[in-house]
């Protein structure tokens, strides 16, 4: 217990709590005129997530390494079940009804893939065709299942997390370059397989004014919200875009617009600084980690956070297509909140286990 407390990275914890507080305040601004019950729910989610975070601080990393394979297998199985028995919500079949909770297997798969790749590369580098091939297979199979649901956002997360871990694990740069060229080359093929609404989103991004009341509406309205906030913002609860329901999904994916409108650039800078602290802190923990598994785990979590933040803000401010990725700790949503806090629990555990120990492969390190 004392070891856990002493090993905690307090800066990371402070960043998490600050972001959670900021998130709850912004959520209040987004929903205060409508369903304020959402705010209480989010508070509950936060509590559950934080509990998960604390529990994971006590789970030994060795154990995680052991369960990574069965966990991945379970996630894959559920993912296969979705098209067969899943519920359709908002036009996509993503959910599994498990009686008490609606589970989104793709959400589980993100973390399962991250765990298994970290585990896979804990004892080897991404230098041989064979080792890379296994990692690619582990990523591409679930990605193909998820893109079919259809869920472009999560597919993106899987591929991005896999790529980050491959780079961290030592993927030769020229291979990475080849992969990027191959990816660009495959874009027309991907376009061919995209659903109409996904194509529409890409087209809308290129020219939002082409369909101002249809697909371009979200982006135009959120851009107006952000821009009208100015440097100083309109003041807490004074945003007109959000308050008057011009902003769609303002409590979930588009909550950044509420923050930028009411808090102005000042709030944006504060938010981005908090995120920078959060991610940098994860990278510091990764660098200090006692095991290579721990290092890769931290990089995996950090890159997923990075992707969420970049894509979400980019989408709300009109530089990325609309893909449903939440803004960590700010957007409303139970699954995302709980899983992200759980993931940070893993990172914190790495920090705890690495305390007073020499990082892996540093002179004097006991671990290979």
């Amino acid at each position: 217990m004392i070891r856990v407390l002493r090993g905690m990275d307090w800066i990371l914890l402070l960043a998490i709590i600050s972001l959670a507080a900021l998130g709850l305040v912004m959520l209040y601004a987004a929903v205060h005129q409508g369903d304020t019950g959402l705010w209480q729910k989010q508070f509950t989610f936060w509590g559950i997530g934080f509990a998960a975070f604390l529990v994971l601080c006590f789970v030994q990393l060795r154990l995680l390494g052991l369960i990574s394979w069965p966990f991945y297998a379970l996630a894959l199985l559920l993912l296969i079940l979705v098209p067969l028995v899943g519920d359709v919500q908002m036009g996509a079949r993503r959910w599994l009804n498990l009686g008490i909770v609606n589970l989104q297997p793709s959400e589980l798969m993100k973390w399962a893939l991250m765990l298994i790749l970290a585990s896979w590369f804990a004892t080897r580098e991404a230098r041989s065709m064979q080792d890379i091939g296994v990692a690619l297979l582990l990523a591409v199979v679930p990605a193909a299942l998820i893109v079919n649901q259809p869920d472009l956002g999560t597919t993106l997360v899987l591929l991005f997390a896999a790529t980050s871990l491959l780079i961290a694990a030592g993927l030769p740069w020229r291979w990475f370059g080849l992969a990027v060229i191959a990816a660009i080359g495959s874009l027309p093929v991907l376009w061919h397989f995209m659903h109409d609404y996904q194509k529409q989103r890409v087209l809308t991004l290129l020219d939002p004014q082409s369909d101002p009341l249809g697909a371009g509406y979200h982006v135009i309205q959120s851009t107006i919200a952000i821009g009208s906030g100015g440097l100083m913002g309109k003041g807490f609860l004074q945003g007109t875009q959000g308050r008057l329901h011009f902003l769609p999904e303002q409590h979930t994916d588009f909550i950044f617009a509420v923050l930028a409108e009411e808090g102005g650039f000042i709030a944006v800078v504060i938010l981005l600084l908090l995120y920078t602290v959060l991610i940098t802190r994860m990278l510091v923990i990764s660098n200090r980690a006692h095991s290579r598994f721990g290092s890769l785990l931290c990089i995996g979590v950090a890159s997923i956070f990075m992707l969420y933040i970049t894509v979400n803000i980019g989408m709300v401010s009109g530089i990325f297509p609309v893909v449903g990725l939440p803004l960590p700790f700010i957007s409303y949503g139970g699954s995302a909140m709980v899983t992200m806090l759980a993931a940070l629990g893993l990172v914190m555990r790495v920090s705890i286990e690495s305390r007073d120990r020499i990082p892996w492969q540093r002179p004097g390190s006991s671990l290979a």
Binding site: E125, S164, I167, A168, G170, Q221, T223, I224, A225, I226, G227, S228, G229, G230, L231, T240, Q241, L244, H245, F246, L247, P248, A260, G264, F265, V268, V269, L272, Y275, T276, I279, T280, L283, S286, N287, R292, S295, I299, A302, S303, M306, I309, T310, I313, G314, S317, I319, W360, Q361, R362, A368
Partner: protein, 607 residues
């Protein structure tokens, strides 16, 4: 050594990750800064646009009342039930609930269901209109059980005396393309006929504006600035609905027109045209079948017979011929002639209505007995020019100037058109104006026509000393003198006395109908021969009943009362009504009865 290599490589890769986070987030921050700093003004303006709608507020239209203050065109509060489809949780349940409260029949329900399915889900769909508070109050009380349903208050125009005053008051309809080009809004109602049209600018009022804060659904959140609309002016007409009603009752289901004017001011106390039509039907949006029915009805209900139709005035015109004779100093006008019942002309005989003849007749006797032969001879003496001059002088052949366009002018034949026609086609038949035509004109037949309003004004001018006034629709307006007839008071007195004789003398044509009237009446009857049914009528497929009716003569009566102290002038025209004395004059008696009763009431209450 290999192991250190992998750590070194990892450390290198770490640098990449350390750098990536701030760079990516920095780029995002710069993008947001661009929006919030460089594009702030533009986007803030757009946000304002988003938020504030300038919405016009329709003015309440001025009401129209009669001289007693009875509402002729009034605004009624009505409620509408609307529904915004996308906000409805359970459409079927909601419609069932509304249907139960508003008593929709299955056809209406099906129609509404269809309209909802064809409408944009984010815009209100009108479900029911013109509802009273008692009908909508149960809905209003249950609105929170029916998300998406809304009850809106508004007003609509109603004409309590729609059929009685249809031509005078007129009606409204929704703005058309030409109106919106003139600056009206698409949901505004505009006067199309009658007073509603002539005084549109007074009645309409002016638009107000309000700034509304709206959400993305167009829902009004709050109202900020507000320029209230200016309500239209209330108009008090000179019209007296009670008198108009009496005239209408007296006409019964006959076709015709009754006009009552104030002889001194020219105020229009009654302006009735029968049949009328239900102007209330226009407000809800007239069905085209109804409109076609009105258009094609042989009774021509849409025609304002008082102002838009000119008929041969028949013997009532003898007043003008008599005045013309006196003015030119014809010795016949001051002397006598003999009526054998006909007048022999070169090619034909002109008959007097009394086949047996009137014997020796003076002007007074000729007016009282309406002797045709006397006026044939008088006309022959004074000539057509004297007659047409007098007609113009007394206000015939010109628009009265009443604010009810379009108005018929009527025709006064002069020799000129015939001579023109003769020069053109060299026709031997029509190359000269026949003596007989002057004579026919002198008794108000032939091509001479006048509107009932013109004839009423003629009676008023005779009563008030030759002042030809503009008929005034609004109570209390300053009298407008169109022109003054140049008449010797002595001559006028003679005509007035003759007209009094028409009623007073036992042998007068209106004696039976008006001798016992509430006021002393002076007047003149007329019975206009109707031209033979034309071939057009046959083609139009009128039935035998119609034809026999359409063969009947028009009945006229013009006059004023009280004789000693004239107040009102009356013209009664009954289309295919029969004889002036027996069919038109009783209508005037009914009107005078009501006017006299009103005056008695006033005197009682002032005592």
């Amino acid at each position: 050594m290999k192991e250190l290599e992998s750590r070194q490589r990892f450390d290198m890769r770490m640098l990449f990750f350390y750098a990536a986070a701030p760079i990516l987030l920095g780029l995002l921050a710069m993008h947001v800064l661009q929006l919030q700093w460089l594009e702030h003004e533009k986007l803030a303006l757009q946000a304002d646009h988003n938020r504030l709608n300038i919405v016009p507020v329709l003015p309440v239209r001025g009401e129209i009342v009669d001289r007693q203050g009875k509402g002729l065109a009034v605004n009624r509060i009505a409620y509408q039930v609307q529904l915004i489809p996308e906000r409805v949780k359970d459409l079927d349940a909601t419609l069932t609930m509304l249907s139960g409260m508003l008593h929709w029949n299955p056809a209406k329900l099906a129609y509404i269901d269809k309209r909802i399915k064809h409408s944009r889900p984010d815009r209100p769909v009108l479900l029911d209109d013109k509802l009273q508070w008692l009908q909508v109050s149960p809905i209003a009380a249950r609105l929170h059980h029916m998300p998406g349903v809304d009850v809106e208050a508004g007003s609509y125009r109603q004409y309590p005396y729609a059929g009685l005053t249809s031509h005078l008051v007129g009606y409204l309809s929704l703005a058309r393309k030409t109106d919106t080009d003139d600056g009206y809004l698409a949901n505004e109602f505009i006067g199309r006929t009658g007073v509603e049209r002539s005084y549109e600018s007074l009645l309409h009022g002016s638009l107000g504006y309000q700034q509304e804060e709206v959400d993305a659904h167009g829902r009004r959140i709050s109202v900020s600035k507000r320029t209230p609309p200016a309500m239209g002016q209330q108009l008090r007409l000179a019209l007296d609905v009670e008198v108009q009603q009496a005239a209408s009752d007296a006409l019964g289901n006959r076709t015709g027109s009754v006009v009552v004017l104030d002889v001194h001011s020219g105020e229009v106390i009654t302006l009735l045209s029968k049949p009328g039509y239900d102007t209330n039907r226009f407000i809800t949006g007239l069905e085209s079948e109804q409109w076609q029915e009105w258009l094609n009805n042989i009774e021509k209900p849409l025609l304002n017979r008082a102002t838009q139709a000119a008929y041969p005035p028949a013997s009532t015109f003898k007043v003008v011929t008599g005045l013309a004779g006196l003015k030119v100093g014809s010795h016949l006008a001051n002397g006598h002639t003999t009526c054998p019942g006909y007048l022999e002309l070169a090619d034909r005989n002109l008959r007097c209505w009394k086949r047996t003849g009137h014997g020796q007749v003076s002007l007074e006797y000729a007016v009282i007995q309406s002797c045709d032969v006397y006026f044939y001879k008088l006309a022959d003496q004074i000539g057509m020019a004297a007659i047409s001059d007098a007609a113009l002088e007394w206000g015939l052949g010109e628009k009265t100037g009443i604010d009810l366009p379009p108005e018929a002018r009527g025709t006064i034949p002069t020799q000129r058109p015939y001579m023109m026609a003769a020069m053109k086609n060299n026709s031997s038949k029509r190359d000269k104006w026949f003596r007989g035509e002057t004579m026919i004109t002198a008794i108000g037949q032939g091509t001479l026509t006048a509107t009932p309003l013109q004839m009423a004004r003629l009676a008023a001018s005779v009563a008030n000393g030759g002042r030809v006034l503009k008929p005034l629709l609004l109570a209390g307006d300053e009298p407008v003198l169109m022109h003054q007839a140049e008449v010797d008071p002595k001559h006028l007195k003679m005509i007035q006395a003759a007209m009094r004789g028409v009623v007073e003398k036992p042998y007068g044509t209106a004696h039976r109908a008006l001798a016992d009237a509430a006021w002393t009446v002076a007047g003149k009857t007329g019975t206009a021969q109707v031209i033979k049914m034309s071939q057009d009528d046959e083609k139009a497929g009128y039935t035998a009943d119609d034809i026999s009716r359409r063969h009947k003569d028009h009945a006229w009566f013009i006059g004023y009362a009280p004789y000693e102290n004239p107040q009102v002038a009356i013209a009664v025209f009954v289309e295919h009504g029969g004889h002036g004395g027996s069919d038109a004059a009783p209508v005037a008696a009914a009107v005078i009865k009501v006017l006299a009763a009103q005056q008695d009431r006033q005197q009682e209450s002032s005592q």
